[in-house]
Each structure stands twice: as C-alpha cells, then as structure tokens.
Subunit: 284 residues, 2 copies
C-alpha cells in the first residue's frame, strides 16, 4: 500500500491507474479506523480494481464549538489496518493540500441537508458535500463506499453526485456493530465504562422499535413515542432525535403504507458523547 | 455530428468515447453561435479527439429582471455551424434534464465572484459555476474551451475547477472581433444601426487605453480616468465599469509594476444592450 500526502502525487497515481483502465474505488474516512471502516474498504475492493482510502478530519464540517481538535487519531494503526483490508493507496492530506490559500468554494445542497443533522449542525453538510466532491474528483473514483451509520450523510452524498453529475457510483454498506449491538464509531473510545453500558440502550431501543413496526404499527407518531419511551426507560435522556421517517426524503407521513421504505433515526448523547444509529426497513 | 438532448444518451456516448480512450473536449455555450463560438470549437478540436458543444440558456445565471426569455435563438443555424466547425456532438438539453424536480444544489465560489459582474448580478456566478460543473462532469471532459470575452467568467471557471479538483484543463481562447473591432456577442443582434456605430466606441476606447498603458502609464487611477474619458467622448454614457485591474484577482494597486499582468475591463450599455469587452496586457 502506498501512502500519499499530496494532491500532486495522488493525481499522478490516478493518471497511471486510468491509463491502464483500472476502476478506482474510494473510501473517504476521518480515520481512527474500526471494523465499520474496514468493511467499507473490503466492499470497495470487491467493486473496484484499486482502492484509495482517504483519511482527512475535514475542518469545514465541524462548527467552532465541536470536537474537531479532539477527534481521535492513530495514523500508524490506521495505516496497518487499511493495508490489511486491501487498500492500495492511503491518501493523508494536510488541510493546506485540500484548502490552499484563497480557497473559498462551498457546495450548498438544500433539500435533505436542512433536516435533522442539518438543523442541529447548520454548516455541517455543506462542509461534507464540498470535501466529498473534492475527494471523488481528485481520485476520479468510479465508485465510492460510505457507511449506513451516517444515514443522512449517505442521502446527501447521493444527492451531491446526482445533482452535480459526478461520474461516480455511490455504494452504501451496512452498519457494523459490536457483539452486544452498539454501532461502531470512532467516538465510542470516549465512552467511560458506565456510559458504555448505558449507550447499549440506543441500539436496543432501535431494534425494539424496528420490531414494533414489523409487527404492524405504521402510525408515525406512535412509533416515535414508543422509540422515545424505550430510550428513556434505558436511561438515555439527552435525545437529539429519535424518529421514523421516509428513507428517501426524511419526511414523516401520518401513517406509513405498504411499499414505503422507512428509516428509524436516533441521535443521543451519553456521557457527553454524541452517538448515531439507524435501521432501515420496508413496510411489507 | 450527433445531436443529443438527454443526459442518459450523453452519458452513453461519453462511456463509449472513454472506453476507446478518446480525449473529450467541451465547449459550453448559450447558443446563437457566432465566429467567437466557432473559434472555441475549432480550438477544442485541436486539443481533444472529440468535441462536445453544449447549447443551454441556463436560467439560474439570469436574475428575474434579466433577458433570459428574449435571449436570441436559432437552433437550426447553430446545428449547421457547430457541425461545420468540427463538433462531434451537440448537446441540447431542456431545463428539466439539467435541473430535474427537487434539484437544489448550488456552488458558491466567493473570492473573485464577488467583484464587478458579481456585484451587479449577485446570483450570476453561482448559476454559472453550478452549470459549468455539471456540464464538465456530464461530458467527463479532459479539456474545455471558454472565450476571453467573458473575462471574469474565465477566472471563475478556473477557480471552480481548481478548488473542486475537477479533472479538466481549462483553455481560454482570444476574443474574436468584427472587422471594425466590435467584440462578437450574441447580443450584438439587438443593436439598432445607430447604436451599432456607437458601440464601436467601446473597443476603440479599449485599444486606446491599452496603448496608453503600453506607452508607460502605470498609475491605475489615471488609466481608468483616461478610459472613461475615451468612452464618454465616443458617446458611451451608460458605463457599468471601465477599469484596469490585476488579471488574476481583479484588484487595483495604486501603480502597476514590471511583471504584472493587467486586464482592462469594460461593460457599457448601448441602446439598452449590455456589452462586454476587455484586453489583457503584460507590463513590460
């Protein structure tokens, strides 16, 4: 595996690959890799001939009050794990490579970016869209793999690629969980032992709510009430949202109906750590 | 030459070209082609193996008060001219192909987009940047050719491509002029006979101001004063701007100095028609 730190070197590697008609698959990450990320790299390797994993903790998707500076980091370990998972290139740019002096471009997507995470973090998705566009275009990726754990982000990336006509196929890979059910996240490392046990209430409440819908409850408000009750019963009190919405546009009908695809979204804070989880299901 | 009206057909043609390693060159236009456009198509044909000319009067770069609806049109003539100039494909999308239902993406570039045209037409360059990004990505163009006549637009497109890492080389081709010096423009057709004579004052003032700088006047204010006086003397009174600025960032120093590249920019209205012209020169 080649470790590349500059745009110039990356572009030269990309042209070499393109000249031998290799299909490039890209896995953009913020590093501190866990099994979830590694599953994306493995999936990318199935789709593409060569895989570029990128690690870039993108400052423009963090608000000044957020955890940019304390985002966890372990480049040596990441390098080893990326290589073992089949990455051909690890792209590790400094901020100045991505945003040189005078840089002032941003992509505003509207629509689905205004809801949920977009309401709580108003500049977040513009930062995500801009850096993802740059990474897909820099790597000239034929495909890119994103994790379902950041569900709304996968919708944003699909909208970005569709509306700007970026010639890249977006693949979403399923959530990878710890044995007990907690969705894997780089931020899990910040959970103290007691909070780690408490956090388990998130996935448990999610699975129970999923079962509720599967057993025939299609009234959106009732689903949401049940979801919140489950969380509160499990001791999860700082709930940013816990909801059942249309999987495509994140809006809530009064009742879901046959043929709908629903996503259950939850974001809650446990011991100061903001945790995301979700589950997709089809109304049978 | 193939005439293509849908994104789907265009993408299929593009993959065919890519699969035989053809270098694609793109010439985005708003139609009503004149010798200026044709020179861009010819230049594109020198750089690329195949040329896509696009004709799309992009609604998002016009403000509600502007001349979108009366923008001149002659598709039959354009088709003939594009073919004669060497285009391999003419892409003629309807607005719904470029902006399907639910479309809400825009690219904001900041910087140079805030000056001159960006001050007078605040939403213009966001519309330009978004549609140009879409056209370059749809055509997967290795290169694209733009006319120097819209000088600020060439800076905007270069910034767009550089900052989003769009893998496309931007080539700027010189202004093509009528025999008497008037810069060619699709909007010239709206000039009544007397105004057509009056309009000539724009290029004449531009050339005289260029000579002034070449003869050693480097004081920006004096150059601008001379430029405006020339225009007023020629009967051009509705001047949006007439100025001498740094060719890269469009700012004005007190004095230009050896090694600077200067652009003289002028926009004026003659008989209600907004006309643009410019000239680039190096300080020797």
């Amino acid at each position: 595996m080649e470790v590349i730190k500059t745009v110039l070197e990356l572009k030269s590697w990309v042209s070499e690959m393109k000249s031998c008609n290799k299909r490039i698959s890209c896995v953009p990450t913020m590093g501190y890799l866990h099994e979830g990320h590694l599953s994306l790299i493995k999936r990318a390797k199935e789709i593409g001939d060569v895989v570029v994993t990128t690690i870039f903790v993108n400052p423009t998707q963090f608000a000044p009050t957020e955890d940019l500076d304390k985002y966890p980091k372990n480049i040596l370990r990441d390098t080893k794990l990326a290589e073992e998972s089949g990455a051909d290139v690890l792209f590790l740019p400094e901020a100045g490579e991505m945003y040189p002096d005078g840089f002032s471009t941003s992509i505003e997507l509207g629509g689905v970016t205004k809801l949920f995470e977009g309401e709580i973090r108003p500049t977040h998705f513009s930062g995500v869209a801009t850096v993802v566009a740059k990474l897909l275009l820099l790597t000239e990726a034929d495909s890119a793999v994103f994790g379902q754990k950041d569900y709304q982000q996968t919708l944003v990336v699909k909208k970005l690629v569709r509306e700007l006509n970026i010639p890249c196929r977006i693949v979403v890979a399923p959530i990878v969980r710890e044995k007990d059910g907690l969705a894997m996240s780089s931020r899990n490392v910040y959970l103290e032992k007691d909070d780690r046990n408490l956090a388990l209430g998130i996935s448990k409440s999610l699975f129970r709510t999923k079962s509720l819908v599967e057993s025939g409850e299609f009234h959106a408000k009732s689903i949401e009430q049940y979801f919140r009750t489950q969380l509160l019963d499990a001791g999860i009190t700082e709930i940013d949202y816990a909801t059942a919405v249309d999987a495509e546009n994140l809006t809530t009908p009064e009742y879901f109906k046959k043929g709908d695809t629903v996503v259950l979204l939850v974001v809650a804070r446990v011991g100061g750590v903001r945790l995301l989880d979700n589950a997709i299901l089809d109304i049978p």
